[in-house]
């Protein structure tokens, strides 16, 4: 187990390295000078030049790159040009909303998808099954930013049930916190629910035809037990993979939904960073997102072993 963990973490290093290198050079290609953006159009040439020197933007690209890389290895991701705080502080302060949103969206996705997928599999070919599949197609086809707008139209503009946008931290109370997150979480969760429901259905269909299910039924095991204890447990591996992937999407792909609902999360941090040419922030946040990706993937693989003990992580892959 330990060697497996070690190997996986080792394999993450080149991915982290490549992503940060790609992003560094894309940002360097970006027209627009952060110094000029900070000082505004009225600044004199000398002032801009001074600031460029201060921010070390006047050094050659490769020098800037190696500087950033060595500092990053020491755990220092630099300072934001605009926010008067270090990149690590900025990421930490934006992490909470993204995690809350991601978890809520995932809860919505799973509570919708698992029962629907199981129901569709049990009644294969029926109207119920077809409705679930149609819902799943619709859910996968509506882009999340569109669904956000539709939800705002219905629940905020027409019915005035929930706020249009904004965010309240958990310290303001649970309901206050969740109130702002319901619509964005639904907007994000629906597409994932659609995918998980599809996967649940097909995984359950495969398992439900297996001989041990027939045996269990023949022995007179209650249907509920057959479904939840015998079938679902064995069908759970592919479902878990999809859930893991969807959670990954949530940790990084929430940028546009966070922007629409004005939630100060990581996605919004990156979008603003790109727009304002805040290189250090984008670099750091990208590194975080990639790290989260690798970490969640690893966590999902570890869970395989717990859900299904037949999976041995140490054995040769």
């Amino acid at each position: 187990m330990k060697t497996y963990l070690f190997k996986r973490l080792l394999a993450a290093i080149p991915v982290l390295f490549i992503v940060s290198t790609i992003v560094f050079f894309i940002l360097q290609l970006t027209p627009g000078d952060p110094a000029l953006v900070i000082l505004g159009q009225e600044a004199t040439v000398d002032e801009v030049e001074d600031l460029r020197q201060q921010l070390k933007l006047d050094r050659p690209i490769y020098e800037q790159y190696f500087n950033w890389l060595f500092n990053a290895l020491k755990g220092d991701l630099g300072e934001s040009y605009f926010m008067n705080e270090s990149v690590i502080e900025a990421i930490l302060s934006h992490l909470g909303p993204t995690i809350s949103l991601g978890i809520l969206a995932e809860i919505i996705a799973i509570t919708l998808a698992l029962p629907l997928g199981i129901l569709a599999a049990r009644r294969k070919g029926s109207v119920t099954d077809q409705s679930v599949m149609a819902f799943s197609l619709l859910g996968m086809s509506i882009p999340n930013f569109l669904l956000s707008l539709f939800l705002i139209l219905v629940f905020s503009v027409s019915w005035r049930l929930l706020p249009v946008a904004g965010y309240a931290p958990l310290s303001d109370g649970l309901w206050e916190h969740i109130k702002f997150l319901i619509l964005p979480a639904f907007a994000l969760g629906t597409a994932h629910a659609a995918l998980i429901a599809r996967m649940t259905r097909s995984a359950m269909l495969e398992v439900l035809n297996a001989n041990y299910i027939k045996t269990a039924r023949a022995k007179g095991v209650k249907e509920k037990w057959v479904i939840y204890k015998h079938a679902l447990r064995n069908a759970f591996l592919p479902i878990l993979t999809v859930i893991g992937q969807s959670f990954l999407g949530l940790m990084g792909g929430t940028a546009i939904v966070e922007t629409i609902f004005a939630i100060p999360g990581i996605g919004q941090l990156i979008v603003n960073g790109v727009m304002r040419r805040d290189y250090a922030i984008v670099q750091g946040a990208v590194l975080y997102v990639t790290f989260a990706f690798v970490f969640i993937n690893l966590a999902v693989d570890m869970l395989y072993g717990i859900v299904n003990p037949q999976v041995r992580l140490d054995s040769k892959k």
Partner: protein
């Protein structure tokens, strides 16, 4: 005499067989609900994109200040926007931009993905390099990468195509690579190699054509993804610069006035959703037709 009559028979048998095969294929296509419905939706939107603008007399940017925020009516089916521009006209012109970008990305990403995928399946040293790079690109949310690329390239339709193609290429390359890896070990490839065929010939004459069916299926999904990413980029203000009526731009205007004019959001939004549903159905149907193994589990 006997030989020629046998020849004639053979021809007749061959053409009868061909006819029978075509009939079966036709039946397979017609009984494939997703394929037919998806095709009809996409064909309709393509026709709108190609010929719609020719049939409409007025320009999508014509303003009619007296008629701002007019609700949907017989004159303006989709209503008018904050500058009095007809939303339906803008959505029709937008089909040209958004569908055009989708087609362009699907073609470019398919070609790039085919080259990357096939060469990395064939040369091991190249495989390590290219697959690590595509791991890197895929480890990062596509929209954010496209956003960063757009910031670097500048907001123009051609740059949207480049940015989204870069994001999409690894997904095609993955599919082609896994297909080509299996093909490489097949007897017919070995036989061709034993006959002395060059690597280039084996790759392009024998392996590449056999990866096409999976590639085409994947390309329809990339088409859909490209429409979504274009809309998202323009929505964030990093895509095609306004006032060009791309679907994303129309939505972005709609968001500003969501309290005042629901139709500015609803109709372009439904059009995008229709396009994505059409492409997803078409892709699913195509997969059932061309690549029955992969969809067996979900049937």
């Amino acid at each position: 005499m006997t030989i020629s009559s046998e020849n004639i028979d053979l021809h007749a048998v061959k053409s009868a067989l061909k006819k029978e095969q075509n009939k079966i294929l036709f039946r397979q296509i017609m009984t494939n609900g997703s394929l037919v419905v998806g095709f009809v939706i996409i064909a309709f939107l393509m026709l709108v994109a190609l010929f719609g603008p020719l049939l409409i007399a007025h320009d999508p940017n014509t303003m009619d200040v007296l008629n701002r925020f007019a609700a949907p009516s017989a004159d303006h089916w989709f209503g008018t926007d904050n500058l009095g521009r007809d939303v339906l006209v803008r959505v029709i012109y937008g089909a040209r931009i958004s569908m055009g970008i989708g087609v362009a990305v699907a073609i470019i990403a398919s070609m790039a993905g085919l080259i990357v995928g096939i060469y990395s399946s064939y040369y091991k040293w190249l495989d390590h390099l290219l697959m690590r790079i595509s791991d890197g690109i895929m480890a990062f949310p596509g929209l954010l990468l496209a956003l960063a690329l757009m910031a670097a390239l500048g907001g123009r339709a051609s740059n949207v195509v480049i940015a989204v193609s870069i994001v999409a290429t690894p997904y095609i390359a993955r599919v082609v690579r896994s297909e080509a890896l299996a093909l490489k070990e097949q007897t017919f490839v070995e036989a061709t190699r034993a006959l002395g065929a060059s690597d280039t010939r084996i790759i392009w004459r024998h392996i590449a054509p056999n990866t096409l069916s999976s590639l085409i299926v994947q390309a329809t999904f990339i088409f859909a993804e490209a429409i979504i990413v274009e809309a998202a980029l323009s929505f964030l203000g990093a895509g095609i610069p306004p006032p060009a009526p791309s679907w994303g731009n129309i939505l972005s205007d709609g968001k500003t006035y969501i309290y005042k004019a629901w139709w500015m959001t609803f109709f372009p939004g439904m059009t995008i959703t229709l396009a994505i549903i059409g492409l997803n159905l078409f892709g699913d149907g195509l997969r059932d037709l061309l690549d029955p193994h992969s969809s067996k589990a979900t049937k």
